[in-house]
Each structure stands twice: as structure tokens, then as C-alpha cells.
């Protein structure tokens, strides 16, 4: 029956903007000893005043433009008042009537997810419950956050995951968020069976947890009857009622008159727009046109810098071979070595890919060369010249080597003839050892098989 029930999901996503200093003061956003990165402003001392970090505003405008939003001008800050120990002033400086961006969308596969608003606000302090008491760390107080709010256009937890994946991909392309940042979201969920009476799940942290919480809540709403609007929280395995609510929370929003209204000229907005790099959708389209498989293109465009490096290399070598090498070798190696693409000697990488494509070397040799790929002075061509590890293309030489190998491994030859296919590996291995990996294993295998069958 679940199939005929329509689910609606809306997300409010919070991400930290990667500025060096906080949103309204000069304190650093880096981690530090608790309460060391603080001043009178982010501690809410009487008399302190906020001064807006322009870089943070520009970053959020960039997000707005990448999400096809209209920019509010003028745009201003408001005070959202509620009493809570993590809030230095007992009000949060955020945006209410005039979010920086409004009425945008994000295309996720075949669905357009409408973006209701994108606004900027300050993060509260961090609370730590310890030893029966609560400690407050104001290092986090005042760190800039972007809040991205969708319309309830998402139809399933899977689609929500795809939306978030795409969103994070775009944000990392824009270089406006802290790399590997923890995403936080509030989600509202409702379905047709319950007349779209919605539950809001507050403050779920982490990509996987969000999907898990949505899966749980969608299922719960399909099975249970929902009669009133509720706020729930996610405990890691289930959602739990925090409070049921009749009306919206009342935060008594007023303008924050300490901060002048911001106005943006079209020229200014255009300038920010023009700093947005080509995003992954467009890159995937372009890559598939030049012969890269859809699968490889998707993997390569997950990261802006990998994608940029790929474009450079693909111009000088075969795109399909390069793409395969990126996905199968490069990315795995970076991951294993805990390195980043910017640490890679791109020229060396280009040479390796070229030699593989031209069959000058085998993939095996290529993999060996990859171990020196972080060395800025490394030249694979010179290295091959020295070691002579070029691929053996001369079939006569190869055949001779295969014959020798069969002779030296008579037992394996007999076993293979008896039908033990695995026995072949020993002979192929012997040839590969002899050639120091400069022969193509497939080719070697083919020759040996042929020899043994005709023997």
C-alpha cells in the first residue's frame, strides 16, 4: 500500500561558511582552546557592536546564485530572540524578511527541487554536558552559517540523499564551506495518508544520519496515524516527540539596527556570479561528449580540484583512458595515501596516462610509476628510459619467454591440461616476473593458453 502514499519532505540545511574570521567580529574561526577565540562581541558583552564580515556575505550570495536564487536588495539582519545558554546575547543575529537569496531551485536528476530561501546567520556557542553540569564554549559563537531551505518538493529519503549530495558537491565547488564539514539539517515530513500534517525533525547531524532519520520517519508516518503537528528529534535509531505545537514558535523578530541594510547592485551580483566555476552537471555533459563514460565522469566531478586536474590532462591525452585511470588508480591512491590532488605532479601523471594509452608501458608499470607521483621532479619517461620497462610488443620475444616458462613449470602445464584452469596463473606469473611487468598479462595469458592447447 505504501506505493500510493505520497510523501513530502522539506529540508533546512545548515552549513558553516569557510571564512577566516567570524561573522560579526575579528575572532578566528579556527579551532582552539575553549573560549580562547572570543571577544566582547561574540561573548555578547554590554556595549559591543557587530561589524559584518563582507567575505561571508559574498560567499552566501555565491551560494544563492549557484542555486538559481533571486538576491534580495536591500537585505538586512534581524534579531531572533529566545533565551538559551548557548546564545551570547539571548538573541541570534539572523535574517527574517529579506534572506540574501529566495525563490531558487536545484535540479536533482529529473526533479526540480525549489529553494525557498538562503540566508546567513551566526552560530550559537557550543554546549558540553559534563560532570552533572554544562560547559559553554563561545569559540563557536558568531561563526557564519548559511541556512538553505527547500520547499517540500522532495518525495523520498533517497531523493533527499541525492539532493544533499548534489548540494554539498555544489558548495564544495564554490569553495565556500569548510572541507569535510558536518552537515546539519532540520527536516519536515508529511504524507497524503495523514493529510500532510507534518512532523519536524530537529537538528540531525551528518549526511547518513539525515537519511536514516528520514527513512525511519517516512515509514513511521506510513504505519501510524498522524493527527497533530509535532517537533521530534532523532536519537540515532528512532524519532522521538519533543513537543507538539499548535502555532509557529514566536521569536519576536525585529530588525537589527546595529547593522546597516545591505544593498547590492546588479553589477556587484554579476561579479560574484562570474566567480562561480563550471559546476558538475555541465562538466559531466562535456566529459561524456569527449568519450568519458558516465560512471567515470560522475566520480571525477565529485571534487572540483580533481575535475580541474582531469580537464587539464584530458587535453593532452586520451580522455577515456585518463578517466579510467583517474577512477581506478588515482583516486584510490590519493585516498590510501591521504593525499590531495594538489599534491600530485600533474605532468608526471599526464606522461603515465599517455604511455599507458600508447601502450608504451603496461598498467602494471603505470601503477609502479604512480608510487612516485607526489615527487615534483619525477619524470616517468626518463624513469622508463633508465629501467627499460617499456611494454614488450614484440610477439616473437614474448612467445620465446612463454615457451621457456612452460618448460620450467611442467607440473602446472600438466594440471592445466587436466582442466585446472588456475594452474595457468603460475606460468603467467613466471612470465610477468621475467618481463618485470612490461608485458601485458592478458596477452601473455592468451599466448600460453594457445601454446598449451596446441601442445
Amino acid at each position: 500500500m505504501g506505493d500510493s502514499i505520497e510523501t513530502k519532505i522539506g529540508l533546512e540545511v545548515h552549513v558553516q561558511i569557510n571564512t577566516k574570521s567570524k561573522l560579526f567580529c575579528g575572532c578566528t574561526t579556527e579551532e582552539g582552546e575553549p573560549n580562547n577565540n572570543t571577544c566582547e562581541t561574540c561573548m555578547g558583552m554590554p556595549g559591543a557592536k557587530p561589524v559584518t564580515n563582507k567575505k561571508a556575505i559574498d560567499s552566501v550570495i555565491k551560494i544563492c546564485k549557484a542555486l538559481n536564487c533571486e538576491i534580495s536588495t536591500p537585505s538586512f539582519f534581524s534579531r531572533k530572540t529566545y533565551f538559551y545558554p548557548d546564545l551570547a546575547k539571548n538573541y541570534q543575529i539572523t535574517q527574517y524578511e529579506t534572506p540574501l537569496g529566495k525563490e531558487g531551485f536545484l535540479q536533482v536528476e529529473n526533479t526540480k527541487i525549489r529553494i525557498k530561501r538562503v540566508h546567513i546567520e551566526e552560530d550559537p556557542a557550543a554546549l558540553e554536558h559534563a560532570g552533572g553540569g554544562t560547559l559553554i564554549d563561545y569559540n563557536r559563537s558568531g561563526i557564519p552559517l548559511a541556512e538553505i531551505v527547500t520547499e517540500p518538493d522532495i518525495r523520498s529519503p533517497e531523493q533527499a540523499r541525492n539532493f544533499l549530495k548534489k548540494l554539498i558537491n555544489i558548495l564544495s565547488y564554490l569553495n565556500v564551506i569548510v572541507p569535510d564539514t558536518t552537515i546539519k539539517a532540520d527536516a519536515n515530513i508529511s504524507n497524503s495518508k495523514n493529510n500532510f500534517i507534518r512532523a519536524e525533525i530537529k537538528n540531525v547531524t551528518g549526511f547518513k544520519e539525515i537519511e536514516k532519520a528520514l527513512l525511519y520517519e517516512t515509514k513511521r508516518q506510513q504505519e501510524e496515524e498522524v493527527t497533530k503537528q509535532e517537533t521530534r528529534r532523532w536519537d540515532g535509531t528512532k524519532t522521538i516527540v519533543m513537543r507538539s505545537k499548535e502555532t509557529e514558535d514566536d521569536y519576536g523578530y525585529i530588525y537589527d539596527s546595529d547593522i546597516p541594510k545591505m544593498t547590492f547592485t546588479q553589477e556587484y551580483i554579476n561579479k560574484i556570479s562570474s566567480s562561480i566555476p563550471k559546476l558538475s552537471d555541465e562538466r559531466i555533459r562535456e566529459l561524456t561528449k569527449i568519450g568519458v563514460s558516465q560512471e567515470d565522469a560522475k566520480v571525477i566531478t565529485q571534487d572540483l580540484f580533481v575535475s580541474d586536474a582531469f580537464e587539464k590532462i584530458a587535453q593532452k591525452s586520451n580522455p577515456a583512458t585518463a578517466a579510467k585511470w583517474f577512477r581506478k588508480e588515482l583516486l584510490k591512491r590519493l585516498n590510501a595515501d591521504e593525499k590531495q590532488i594538489k599534491e600530485v605532479n600533474i605532468e608526471a601523471l599526464t606522461e603515465i596516462i599517455k604511455m599507458i594509452h600508447e601502450k608504451t608501458i603496461t598498467e602494471h608499470t603505470g601503477r609502479e610509476l604512480m608510487t612516485k607521483i607526489y615527487d615534483k621532479n619525477f619524470s616517468p619517461i626518463e624513469s622508463i628510459k633508465k629501467t627499460g620497462a617499456t611494454m614488450i610488443k614484440d610477439t616473437t620475444t614474448l612467445k620465446k619467454m612463454c615457451e621457456d616458462a612452460i618448460e620450467k613449470n611442467p607440473k602446472a602445464a600438466v594440471d592445466y591440461k587436466k582442466g585446472e584452469e588456475k594452474a595457468l596463473n603460475a606460468i603467467v606469473g613466471a612470465v610477468m616476473k621475467e618481463t618485470k611487468g612490461t608485458a601485458k598479462p592478458d596477452e601473455v595469458k592468451r599466448i600460453i593458453e594457445e601454446m598449451l592447447t596446441t601442445l
Binding site: E40, G44, P46, G47, T52, F83, T247, G252, S257, D258
Partner: protein, 460 residues
């Protein structure tokens, strides 16, 4: 009595700045025993030389002085000692002044008579009659300025009339400049869109000297102006000849005050300026409700931070955090502060917000436009500062909140419009001073003070 300008010259010719500051503090302590103008004494200076070299300066309690208990005369800030100087304070220190004390006020600026001081504070007394009020909210600043025999000035603050009101009641010059001319950095906010810092002095020229030091752009206050500040001390070289001065002759003004206004009008004519009776019907009707709505909405958010958690009054935390916050706030805020927090919170709540807060903002725009239109025709406006002579403390304390709010009738207009305005003493009834208020267009402090100097001369 020597002026600031004369005294700075005497320091240049060898008089000791430190001894002068000591002598002022000694005098102030003596005065304080009878008049209760101070919440704290101090002696802070960093260098000499500069426009205010050696001059003792007092600071309204709501303006932060580094290392000196600063409480906006509220018990909720007991023990609070700022870690930084307000920009206005820093500027006076940089010009060679000595910061000598913090002056008492209505708690957070919530009053017009200085009778709403916080729990544990004494009501300051009028320098001319101890049974009467000083006016507020910068009562202590005006009082000490009136009595001291030293060259001195006090840094005050106005949200809806808190500089000109006590200036009128104490018989001194109080200057409230255009919103944004003096940095608010380090000012404990009452209402951010309305708060303005300005000086109290004995004479207009001293006020000009002080304002010149206080004024100017500050990167720490985003609302501070980028405009170039003119040399205000040139006002004595200017004349009002050929100007047109508008005057408001409001109803319900005590007779000696009305008579005094007409004397001033006569003096202006004698100086070669035209006068014209004007009215401000929009301001008359809407300034007070709009002002109180905006001010209290903003105040209720500004005062949210005072909860006994990070500074000020504290107790052993017990119960859930909101019980603790409520306990501290209930015990330490005075009655008027509580009233204003409740009114302000109410007026910005969903369902009322559009009817009150948003409407008040719209009314402010109309009021500003009305003033702008008048200033396209006149150079300055004069009115009595207060419709009444300084009342007895007992009487002022018995006023209903509404009666009390209505006494701001004449001062609220320029304050909500962010216009420069000042009060100067233009006469006396028996022993009680009468103040005249001059209002000018935005950034026309020079015009305002030029007229001030002219009237000061006429009044000897």
C-alpha cells in the same frame, strides 16, 4: 570660572593636570554626598597634550570605561567591569583628558527624571533645589556639570531626550548630535536605532570643543557616519543674520517657560534673523507612540543578554536555566525596566508585530519627512526643552507611566528623527533654570550651535 579652552591653556603654561584631576575628584566626592551624581570614581588618563589635555571628564554609567565598574545604573550589572573602553571614552583619553567617574542615570536610560535609578542606587538631586529632580536619563552628568567649579565635561547619552531634558532642568548646555556622528561602540544599548552620545558642558563653545573630539567615523560601529566632521569651534565666528528660525509654541507649557520662549524669539529677531511659527502635526500626534514602540521593542532584545550567566549579578545556579534566568532578572531589574521589557516583547510578537512595531517604523519615516520639509524652509527650530520646570522628586515618582512618557513630548520628535538638538539655559524662574531646545537638520550641528552661541551671548 574657567572654561575647558582656558584651562587647557593653563595646563600648557605649567599647571599640573594630575593635581587638577585630584582636585576635581575631591570636589565631586563632596558634591556626591549631597546630590548623588556618581556611581563610581576613578582616575584614568594615558597621555597629555591634545584638545582636552588635563580636563576631568565624567561618563554616564551606560558608557563603558575599561576597568571601572559600569552598570547603566542597574543592579543586574553589579560587579561588571568592562574589558574595553567605549570609543567615545577612548577618544577623550587620546586627547589628553582624565576619566574621573561614572554618573548615575535612569536604569538603562528608562526615564526622563532620573527617578528610575536601579535597585540600590540613589536618585540624583537637582543642583538648584535638592527636593527636585535632575531630569533624565543622564541626570548625574547634567548635575555635576552644573555644580562643579572645575573646567569639566560629561559624556551623556540620549535615546528620546536624555541629554536635553536634564540639561534644561539643571541649567547647563546639553548637545545631542545627529544619529551616527558619535560612535556608539561601548554604549550599553537602550535602543540601537535611537541611541546617541553627546556632551554636557557649561557653555556652548565648550560643547563644540567636546563634540569635535567625540565625533567621527569608527570602524567598530557600523552605523557611524563617514561624513567629514567640520571644525565646530568656528561657530563663534559665524552669525545668524538672514537666517529663518522656526519656533513651536506648544500648548500646555508652564507660563514662565512660554514667556522665556518669546524672549528668545525676540532676541533672535534682534540678531537679524526672521522667525516663523511652525507646527509639526504628524510628529505631534505620532512621535511619542512610535518612539516608545520602537525603543521598547529594541530595548527588550537588548536587555535579554542580562541573565546572570556571563557577567553582572550572579547566584549559585539552581534548577533549569530558564528558572535561573528568571530569578536573576526578577530580582535585579527595577520596576520600569521590567515594564519596558514586557511592553517591548509584546509589541514585537507575531500577531502584534505588524500592528505595532512595523507601523511605528513607518510612522518614523513620516516624521522624518515632515522635519525634512520644514528644514527646506527654516535653518533651525526652537521650542522649550521641557513644558514644565523641574518637578519635585516625590511628584515625579508618583506620575503614572503614561504621564511620565508624555512629558517627553517636545524632545522625542528630534530624537526619533535622529536630528541634532541641544538645550541651553535661557532664563530662570525663581531659582529654577529654564532650557531652550534648538533643533537643526541632519549634520547641521554647526548651525545649531551657532544659534546657541548667539542666544547664550544675549543671556549673558
Amino acid at each position: 570660572m574657567t572654561t575647558i579652552i582656558e584651562q587647557v591653556k593653563m595646563f600648557e603654561s605649567g599647571e599640573s593636570c594630575d593635581e587638577y584631576a585630584e582636585s576635581f575628584i575631591e570636589e565631586a566626592k563632596k558634591i556626591n554626598k549631597k546630590f548623588y551624581y556618581f556611581t563610581e570614581f576613578c582616575n584614568k588618563s594615558s597621555k597629555r597634550g591634545g584638545a582636552l589635555s588635563g580636563i576631568p571628564v565624567t561618563v554616564k554609567d551606560c558608557i563603558c570605561v575599561k576597568g571601572v565598574q559600569s552598570r547603566a545604573s542597574s543592579a543586574i550589572l553589579n560587579t561588571y567591569t568592562p574589558v574595553f573602553n567605549a570609543s567615545s571614552v577612548q577618544k577623550t583619553i587620546d586627547e589628553g583628558a582624565t576619566i574621573t567617574g561614572k554618573t548615575v542615570q535612569d536604569e538603562f536610560g528608562f526615564g526622563g527624571f532620573s527617578v528610575n535609578v536601579g535597585i540600590g542606587f540613589e536618585i540624583p538631586r537637582n543642583p538648584h533645589d535638592e527636593d527636585r529632580v535632575c531630569g533624565g536619563s543622564s541626570g548625574g552628568s547634567a548635575g555635576i556639570t552644573a555644580i562643579t567649579k572645575h573646567a569639566h565635561f560629561s559624556i551623556g547619552e540620549s535615546t528620546g531626550g536624555s541629554i536635553v531634558t536634564p540639561a534644561a532642568f539643571c541649567g547647563v548646555v546639553g548637545i545631542c548630535p545627529t544619529y551616527g556622528i558619535v560612535s556608539r561602540y561601548g554604549l550599553m544599548d537602550y535602543a540601537n536605532s535611537l541611541d546617541k552620545i553627546g556632551p554636557f558642558t557649561k557653555t556652548v563653545l565648550e560643547g563644540a570643543v567636546a563634540l569635535k573630539v567625540l565625533a567621527g567615523h569608527d570602524t567598530k560601529d557600523s552605523t557611524s557616519t563617514n561624513k567629514k566632521i567640520p571644525d565646530y569651534t568656528k561657530i563663534t565666528e559665524k552669525s545668524i543674520k538672514g537666517w529663518k528660525i522656526g519656533y513651536i509654541d506648544p500648548e500646555g507649557v508652564e507660563e514662565p517657560i512660554r514667556e522665556n520662549l518669546h524672549e528668545s524669539i525676540q532676541e533672535i529677531k534682534e540678531s537679524g534673523a526672521k522667525t516663523e511659527k511652525i507646527t509639526l502635526p504628524i510628529s505631534d500626534e505620532y512621535a511619542i507612540p512610535a518612539y516608545y514602540t520602537i525603543a521598547l521593542c529594541e530595548a527588550s532584545t537588548n536587555l535579554a543578554k542580562y541573565c546572570g550567566l556571563r557577567y553582572g549579578a550572579q547566584e549559585e545556579p539552581k534548577g533549569f536555566f530558564d528558572e535561573y534566568f528568571s530569578n536573576i532578572r526578577s530580582k535585579n531589574f527595577g520596576k520600569e525596566a521590567k515594564r519596558r521589557i514586557l511592553l517591548g516583547t509584546f509589541a514585537r510578537q507575531a500577531g502584534f508585530r505588524d500592528a505595532f512595531y512595523i507601523k511605528a517604523l513607518q510612522a518614523r519615516t513620516h516624521i522624518i519627512n515632515e522635519y525634512k520639509k520644514i528644514f527646506s524652509e527654516v535653518d533651525a527650530i526652537i521650542t522649550p526643552t521641557m513644558p514644565i520646570l523641574p518637578p519635585l522628586i516625590k511628584k515625579a515618582s508618583e506620575l503614572t507611566p503614561l504621564q511620565s512618557y508624555l512629558s517627553d513630548k517636545l524632545t522625542v520628535g528630534p530624537n526619533i528623527a535622529g536630528l541634532p538638538h541641544m538645550s541651553l539655559p535661557t532664563g530662570k524662574h525663581k531659582s529654577l533654570p529654564i532650557g531652550l531646545m534648538i533643533t537643526a537638520d541632519h549634520y547641521e550641528e554647526e548651525k545649531m550651535m551657532t544659534l546657541g552661541v548667539e542666544l547664550e551671548e544675549k543671556n549673558g
